[in-house]
């Protein structure tokens, strides 16, 4: 057993165990913390497969952003005031059956030894296409591409792929994030009642008045 495989076994066991705890905890805060542990373990697995940039994004976006979002919502929704209801839904037997069926299907398809690791060229994961000005013999004055292998350049390689081959999907992803942001704001915003709206307008008017007074005092 190589050291890497031992690390994989330990981290993978922690990931699976904490994911089972995520779906079995009664309190959503505990679920969120175990979900954080799962995300960090998955980030370690990414780094072991040579995907350092994706591992970093996993920690930043999932562990840093999405988890905070979950914890915020858990705090907004007062869990203690919710009625003490059953954890499992009415379909829990069917749910377990479907989950186990899917798991058995995966195990049947991905038996150990089906996907041998071939000795393929892994240099694309850590190398960058660099444009080097070399005149070819046949067509003078043309660019030719040359792959430059640089170790530990995974972020550079991913960035190069994102900004050249996948530029349009990248821009569509930014548009998607904008739409998701607007949607979340519109869905999550609270309709003000008539009295609240009046109070808010009065507050704004008073604020404008104060600013005017301050400006006059400054200019005087």
């Amino acid at each position: 057993m190589t050291p890497a495989f031992a690390v994989f076994l330990i981290v993978g066991t922690i990931a699976v165990a904490s994911s089972i705890l995520v779906i079995s905890m009664r309190n959503p805060v505990h679920s969120a913390l175990f979900l954080l542990l799962t995300f960090l373990c998955v980030a370690v697995l990414f780094v072991m497969k040579g995907a350092e940039f994706v591992g970093a994004v996993q920690v930043l976006v999932y562990a840093g952003g999405i988890m905070v979002l979950f914890l915020f919502v858990v705090m907004l929704i007062n869990v203690r005031h919710l009625p003490d209801e059953k954890v499992l839904s009415n379909f829990w037997k069917g749910g377990f059956a479907v989950g186990l069926g899917v798991f058995i299907l995966f195990v049947a398809v991905v038996r150990p030894g089906v996907y041998h690791d071939e000795q393929l060229d892994k240099s694309r994961l850590t190398s960058v296409k660099e444009r080097i000005w070399t005149e070819s013999h046949k067509n003078p004055g043309t660019y030719t591409y040359r792959r430059v292998h640089r170790t530990n350049a995974n972020s550079e390689a991913v960035g190069m792929a994102l900004y050249t081959d996948y530029l349009v999907p990248f821009e569509v992803a930014s548009l998607f994030l904008l739409v998701a942001m607007i949607g979340a704001i519109v869905i999550g915003k609270r309709e003000l009642s008539a009295t609240e709206e009046e109070t808010a307008q009065q507050f704004i008017l008073e604020r404008v008045e104060t600013e005017k007074e301050v400006k006059e005092a400054m200019s005087a």
């Binding site: 919710l82 749910g95 991905v110 949607g183 869905i187």
Partner: protein
């Protein structure tokens, strides 16, 4: 690490396990926040698959798609949590079984 990484099928087994756990969580839980967390678990399992195959095939496409999946997961979590907050304001509960206003 690149040369000594565990085999692809070990990664696929792990990702299948995580996906099955997430699927069970989506179906059996009543708490809507936990259901959303289970969906995130399933998306993470898919990401493990993509990264494992990216390493096996020696191509970057898997990692690029993983980043897009993370983007979609972030947007999905934001909108889903906004829906949960609005449901809580409307019905004072986040029980999945209580959200049946469209049920005629």
């Amino acid at each position: 690490m690149l040369e000594t990484a565990p085999s692809t099928d070990a990664y696929l087994m792990l990702s299948g396990t995580l996906f099955a756990v997430g699927l069970i969580g989506v179906v059996i839980r009543r708490n809507m926040i936990t259901v959303l967390m289970a969906i995130e678990l399933m998306l993470n399992a898919v990401n493990i698959n993509l990264v494992a195959f990216s390493h096996r095939l020696g191509s970057l496409e898997g990692q690029v798609f993983t980043i897009f999946v993370i983007t979609v997961a972030a947007g999905e979590a934001a909108v889903g949590l906004a829906i949960i907050i609005q449901l809580y304001r409307l019905k004072s509960t986040i029980n999945v079984d209580e959200a049946r206003m469209l049920n005629g």
